[in-house]
């Protein structure tokens, strides 16, 4: 089994939740896109969020090279977006990566997206077993441990994203 499968299950689940959040609450993401000078209507964000949900669902149930690469592309774009926002010091209150939840652009945020991109790229090398197929024929204890670790990984990832220091606080401490 591909060792990237576990992390891939986490990043695919995060993509699904983030996409659904954008569909339900597109305002912050739209604002971040406009701050970047990109077209950022609510409708565009909702469509993008829906695409994320579809890609994530496909990643969980029918992983293939193309789907894994699409997940990697998504996270690569997120990382690039946040990196540009940081470099340009854009006044973005929340990048809108997870919809309504406030997620300040930060280096940790970029790092997490790059790690997720690498996990998806790793999965693209050998996508023969999907995150759902891996639990087939396994014991109840193994399945429970797998689900629990994926859920904890997703929750911790969101905590890391939403707990980043506020840009204003960083600015106050800057020399």
């Amino acid at each position: 089994v591909n060792p990237a499968l576990g992390p891939f299950a986490i990043v695919a689940t995060i993509l699904a939740v983030a996409g659904a959040s954008k569909v339900l609450e597109p305002r912050d993401t739209a604002g971040a896109l406009r701050a970047m000078g990109l077209p950022g209507g609510d409708r565009i964000v909702r469509v993008g969020g829906a695409v994320e949900v579809v890609v994530a669902a496909a990643a969980l149930v029918a992983t293939g090279v193309v789907v894994a690469l699409l997940v990697a592309l998504s996270y690569g774009l997120f990382a690039a977006f946040i990196a540009v926002a940081l470099v340009r010091r854009l006044p973005i209150a929340s990048c809108g990566c997870v919809g309504r939840a406030v997620t300040f652009p930060s280096r940790v945020h970029v790092g997490l997206n790059v790690a997720a991109c690498l996990a998806a790229l790793g999965m693209a090398f050998d996508p023969s077993v999907t995150p759902l197929e891996v639990v087939r024929d396994e014991s109840v204890a193994a399945v429970a441990a797998y689900v629990a670790l994926v859920v904890v990984g997703v929750v911790l990832s969101f905590r890391v994203l939403t707990q980043a220091p506020r840009p204003s606080a960083r600015a106050r401490t800057a020399p």
Binding site: G6, P7, A9, L112, L156, V160, A169, R172
Partner: protein, 45 residues
Amino acid sequence: MAAVLATLLAVVVALAVVLTVESRLVRRTESPVRRHDGPAPDSAT
């Protein structure tokens, strides 16, 4: 399956470490009194 669980556990531990470090950073950047004045007066007790 054991390898998958081991990788997942490693990822979860890494995320927990990042979260812990980040929380300390947030506390440090958002409490300037503690940062400039050193330990609180009652910390010796």
